[in-house]
Symmetry: C2
Subunit: 219 residues, 2 copies
Amino acid sequence: MARTARLSSSLIVSTALDLVDRHGVDALTMRALARALGADPMAVYRHVRDKEALLGALCDAVLADLDRFDPDRPWRGQLERFAWQLRDSLAARPSLAAVLAGAPVTPAALALTQQAVVLMTGQGVPLDVAAGGLATVFAYVIGFAVTEASLPDPAEGRDELRRAALHHLGDPETEPPHLDTALRLVEQPADFGFGLELILEGLERRVPPTGSSRDADGS
Amino acid sequence: MARTARLSSSLIVSTALDLVDRHGVDALTMRALARALGADPMAVYRHVRDKEALLGALCDAVLADLDRFDPDRPWRGQLERFAWQLRDSLAARPSLAAVLAGAPVTPAALALTQQAVVLMTGQGVPLDVAAGGLATVFAYVIGFAVTEASLPDPAEGRDELRRAALHHLGDPETEPPHLDTALRLVEQPADFGFGLELILEGLERRVPPTGSSRDADGS
DNA sequence: ACCTGAACACCGTTCAAGT
DNA sequence: ACCTGAACACCGTTCAAGT
């Protein structure tokens, strides 16, 4: 019966992530976290420097949960899977997208980057293409996830949005063409796969062709 | 001598933006804003619903400050200029990038989208390509700007970052290849133009060729 | 030496009291 | 009717007092 359930960093992180999953990152206060842990509000500070470090640890946990890169399988499919997995993970906890955007350099991010560089350069992708490609994919996924998470409730103030937009357009007498199309575009989530395909396709076109039809297999 | 300098929404927004430019968004508190305006802390609430609305108005002002799209000039160059302008604007006030990411639907955003749809479809870009392209460019710029603004001070805790990353990689006995390369990649700002080029190039390839060599000029 | 919780210095916002 | 500022309900974090 001895309550030896001491606090640990991993317990703190998993409890905090659970709080974020259920009630959003705004509900993650040091006091609420301590309550969920059944501990004193200050006990958490024994294991975590401050709240910023706690949020960084959450981001690291999310990234560490993604599949590793396998250097023996084609890079393009793996980069695509990585992008979808990260997007899905952030879509499941929307409020964390902005947090990850604000703390992108974590140990797991470094580990993933190292594996991706090995994967891509090992398969003939020039280093600068691999570097630019990784940065592009990451920026795209983050930007997409944060934007998607921040879409306002449709119809919420749509009339005012329209009116104010018309004012920006110089209050024309006739309705500007495609205004309703544009309204739909900014209100609806976009097609994640479309932009990802643009990026991956561009990367593939920057990989010099291998001389023969196969040269990595069987050596 | 009568102090008739009444508050107005535009004065509030420009004063708030100035505060953000000089001291970052964290320094933008309702109290500090009122102080900068020489007004009572609560006077701002006469013109702005709450702080979220104030931040939204700041984002709108940043977007409204960008060049308009001109339907008579090539879409690709204008989309490229838009991306660079927005990136530069956010690089000049880094802390606002995350705010814009969290409030992407504003009147100016709608106006820009409407103009971009007119521009692109008017020059033969299929609507779904234009829609996907705009969303992709926006997500990329936002994600890039937020990530760039959040890069930690290099060398700040680099050793701990390395050690923790090695732990994620399974504590190998030999140094994983390209780890220093990866460290450089996650610490340094990436090449904004590279990813933008990937996206624009992919869009261009999705525009069906016009029948003759010229058909929009002179008509 | 470690842990606790009262207290500090904020914050956004409400609301009753003034003009 | 409009404007003000004291007050409320928080927050992250410090630090002195306990074990």
